[in-house]
Homo-oligomer: 164 residues x 2
DNA sequence: CTCAACTCGGATATTCTTTGTCCGGGACAC
DNA sequence: GTGTCCCGGACAAAGAATATCCGAGTTGAG
């Protein structure tokens, strides 16, 4: 029961893109968070494949959010990185062994599977109720409004990349 | 985001032990579910370590539930097998990079971490609301009351182990 | 129009956890 | 005593997660 570590990176990047007003290269996002640039690129590609962000190629290219932050839920990001399949996979044990269950009684998932589905739904519902915009407002409430403009400025700065 | 496959086995075993009226050897539980005996033994040891079931050694030994099924929740079993640590681990990215967050503002978990904690709580609460007894009643509602006595009889039978 | 620089994108190694197995030791009932 | 059963750890194999590279495409400037 462990979620991919890239989810944290992806969520932080989504928040950073909220502050940006122009496309941001993957390498700059990696530098902002001090993580592996190549691996972060992989996560961003997954986000792009899911349609949450879109890539702008070329000289002044980079990544930008495809929708307003209030329409991107945390669940969207989690599912884009970690996959959409539920954590619990039912092997249908009841149909095997010396006392197999009758196939017609197995039209509905077994009680164990039902409990797992309910828990998974509750988990997803909780993540769906929080949007990236909510995260942004939570961060500003915690660190003050200056953090957003600070990130925006740093992302837009030109020569900061290799500066000491 | 994948849960250990042994959780399914453990839950099925817990249900089977509900039907049993005497200790059941691990090998018999493995045969009932047609799974690897040695690996199932590992999961049962974890359940015993968590205090959910207790082992009876010796000739007529085996495993039996330590509490009434109505006092064992699905969450207990899941945590015994899959671990009690939450799926999401916060690396505190905000404290790294060229724009580190002030340490005194990080006394409370970041907004992302908070959302994950809330989802994890919802997930656990859902699993905690279902007991093994609930599973048993669900199974009888689905497969009829005969399934319980059938399992009880098969578990108690002597020479069924290797018979063709 | 040419060029060059910059960007993403997918295919590729490496590490690590999970899964699955095995064997010796100890305890209980018969 | 003897056979059966559980316990605990050590051990090998499989799979996924992690981390990295180089090529394709696009843009903007000259």
């Amino acid at each position: 029961m462990k979620m991919s570590g890239g989810v944290e990176w992806a969520l932080h990047c989504a928040f950073a893109l909220t502050a940006a007003d122009r496309p941001v290269p993957a390498a700059r996002l990696a530098e902002l968070h001090d993580v592996s640039p190549t691996y972060l690129a992989k996560q961003l590609q997954a986000l792009a494949r899911a349609g949450l962000i879109h890539a702008v190629q070329g000289h002044a290219g980079g990544y930008a959010l495809s929708r307003p932050p209030s329409e991107i839920t945390v669940l969207d990001v989690v599912e884009a990185i970690d996959g959409r399949s539920p954590a619990f996979t039912c092997t249908d044990i009841r149909t095997r062994g010396p006392m197999p269950a009758s196939p017609e009684a197995c039209r509905t998932p077994c009680a164990i599977h039902q409990a797992m589905i309910a828990a998974d739904d509750a988990w997803r519902a909780s993540l769906r109720s929080v949007t990236i915009a909510d995260l942004a407002s939570g961060v500003t409430a915690q660190h003050g409004p200056g953090i957003l403009t600070g990130i925006r400025g740093w992302l837009g700065a030109e020569g900061t990349a290799r500066g000491v």
